[in-house]
Symmetry: C2
Subunit: 218 residues, 2 copies
């Protein structure tokens, strides 16, 4: 009777060389689940398919996760942890807020589309209920707050022009999150290329100006 506690799955995604066998297996399941969720869509993919992806049987999943919702919640938490790390990374950057923002934008697109396989789940908080929902939403709120923090710092320093940080953050997040709906691994642009192009557009805006200032730093 192991019964792994919900507080497992450490935030730093760095691999401990000596993780218990059980935890490694758990992460394997998590990754498989994420993959399936992404391919077939959240509600279209059942526990049996997730188990099948790993060549195991359904019941076995319930040895590691209490139910489907917990599995989904862990996927989302994993994905969000990556984003929170990214946000910390961006804020710790020794660079002006506009560059911090670019770092975050590019990282977000890469994370959602190339690294974290569970990203799609991140878009479906509605599927969660109760404590899990609150926990995930709290984490998401923290992430959004980090973005606002960058924007407001930029505004304070006169580098960014931000009327309503909350609104600006949602506009940005919309562009970034939406990429999971159309990004293709075999497309003609990598995630980081897309991220950089988005950063260009978000920072410069679409309006042409007389003096065409392509970039103002470097």
């Amino acid at each position: 009777m192991v019964q792994i506690k919900s507080s497992d799955l450490p935030d730093p995604s760095g691999d401990r060389p000596e993780e218990s066998r059980s935890l490694r297996r758990k992460r394997e399941i998590l990754d498989a689940a994420s993959r399936v969720f992404r391919q077939r869509g959240l509600h279209a993919s059942g526990m049996r398919e997730i188990a099948g992806e790993l060549g195991m049987h359904v019941g076995n999943l319930y040895y590691y996760f209490r139910n489907k919702e917990e599995l989904l919640a862990f996927c989302q938490e994993d994905s969000l942890s990556g984003l929170l790390n990214l946000a910390r990374e961006a804020l710790a950057l020794d660079a002006p807020p506009d560059r911090q923002l670019r770092h975050l934008i590019v990282g977000h697109v890469v994370l959602l589309n190339e690294e974290t396989p569970g990203s799609l789940a991140h878009l479906e908080v509605e599927a969660l209920t109760g404590e899990w929902r609150e926990k995930i939403m709290a984490k998401r709120e923290t992430y959004e707050a980090s973005i606002r923090q960058i924007l407001e710092a930029g505004a304070r320093q006169g580098l960014l022009q931000v009327d309503d940080a909350r609104l600006a953050a949602m506009a940005i997040l919309g562009s970034l999150n939406w990429t999971v709906k159309w990004f293709r691994r075999d497309g003609d642009m990598s995630a980081s290329e897309i991220g950089n192009a988005f950063a260009d557009q978000i920072l410069s805006g679409l309006s042409a100006r007389e003096a065409n200032l392509r970039r103002q730093s470097s």
Copy 2:
């Protein structure tokens, strides 16, 4: 045995005073379904709940729609028709492309969040298969093409700065579509206020400039 053909539900949402009883009922169902989809989420809402919303019984739905997928497809088509109208409207506007773009942006946010009740469905093309999926995706492609058309016209006239119209369109659409995930009817901003703020941000960009040109027309 009436068997309404799939080509019904006329694009112009203007009410014909003499629509057949059957068609009116069909639209009632469509609206109810959209409402339920939106509240409970697509997969969480069953046929019984949709029927319940109208005080009718399950089986009756199948007199008007072959199955759930057809119901969903019609919802999406309805929503997309509204957007296509909007795009035509914007393009027909006797104004420079940047104003056409603003018109489209504001209209899109309003349509998705206040007018068309079936908007949420619009975000879930994955749930469709076969012919329906293709039909919806084709319509969506047409809409996106309209946006690119505006952007490219703007670029040609030197009014807009667009590197990659396809990418720019996706960034914009992401911001707009994402609003349905967080917009609240009882929030402190109306859909059109949000749309206008978005248009400001998308056009001007976040980078502060020496000459702070808030608006360049009017």
